[in-house]
Symmetry: C2
DNA sequence: TATGTTTATATCGTGTACGATTTAATATGG
DNA sequence: CCATATTAAATCGTACACGATATAAACATA
């Protein structure tokens, strides 16, 4: 049996556990976010706005590494829920500025307890706090490295 | 007051970088998988079958932490491509056994070079091999911890 | 100033994810 | 045995992701 096919085993790759961990953490958030009537990506957008209100779609996308094709429908749903407004900027009619409504601002109060609950769910197991800290550090480096690798703003190489 | 809300910053959580890293790695796979005419989740299913052929939908789901609501349509697409077959088991008519067609088996030859290419893409940056090794170890522990946390009613250990 | 280019969103089509439900087959208890 | 419970897939509806394309505003420059 060929040794070199073992590279194709799930356990020997970094990508699958990353994919699995991402989906599983989202599931752990599930019950907490259900109380806020938010999905996980919607929660991420709200966190961006809780930190700094009145941001354009583009700017929110820079934070979350998402583009308008994903954000526009998502933001419309949050607008529908009465959490935020989407208004064309008067300075630059191309941009849409997203701003929190009071209802969206208030939701922050309910959300603030979530991170500790999640940490409790995770660290109750075999993971130490130190281990998580190191892990987080490497994870951020990985994201940066990957992000630099992706042709984010595709430059025109023709003409 | 303000300090309290810093827990809601993206940088201070583990979930967002996990989510971002997962999506970014999938994108890094993009060009390589395009040559095989596979999506990333389809590639994962193929890896499961390359390691061990003739598995039920349920068993594939145990490996990938996915269920039939996701797998059934995905497997139908792979069947459409002529990579595998889906047949009801004669022993247990409830189960569907998935088996590779020669075309699916052959694809393994083209896929085997992908892991090294991905590793090259990632490790070309600031990440050391040792760092990646430790990271992978923690990641697997995290997946186990999370997986144990999720109320998975249909949890069978083996066979 | 006319015109071509870049930029910010939006739209569209395909393919996951996943909670909830449905259907059919098998296992089980009385 | 039969009635009931459990199990394996499939189906359904909603919500992302994302490549590709469209549209309109702002910009650049000859």
């Amino acid at each position: 049996m060929n040794q070199h096919f073992k590279k194709l085993y799930l356990e020997n790759q970094i990508c699958f556990p990353l994919y699995a961990a991402s989906r599983l953490t989202t599931k752990v958030y599930g019950p907490y976010l259900k109380e806020l009537d938010l999905t996980y990506p919607q929660y991420l957008v709200m966190m961006v706005l809780w930190k700094e209100d009145h941001q354009t779609v583009n700017r929110i996308g820079e934070r979350l590494l998402l583009e308008s094709n994903t954000l526009t429908p998502l933001l419309k749903r949050l607008e529908q829920k009465g959490l935020l407004s989407r208004k064309r900027s008067s300075l630059d009619e191309r941009s849409v500025v997203v701003s929190l409504y009071p209802k969206g601002e208030i939701l922050k109060e309910k959300a603030v307890s979530i991170p500790d609950k999640i940490l409790g769910d995770i660290s109750g197991s075999t993971m130490t706090a130190e281990e998580i800290r190191i892990f987080q550090h490497t994870l951020l480096k990985l994201v940066d490295a990957l992000n630099a690798k992706i042709p984010n703003d595709t430059k025109q190489d023709n003409i």
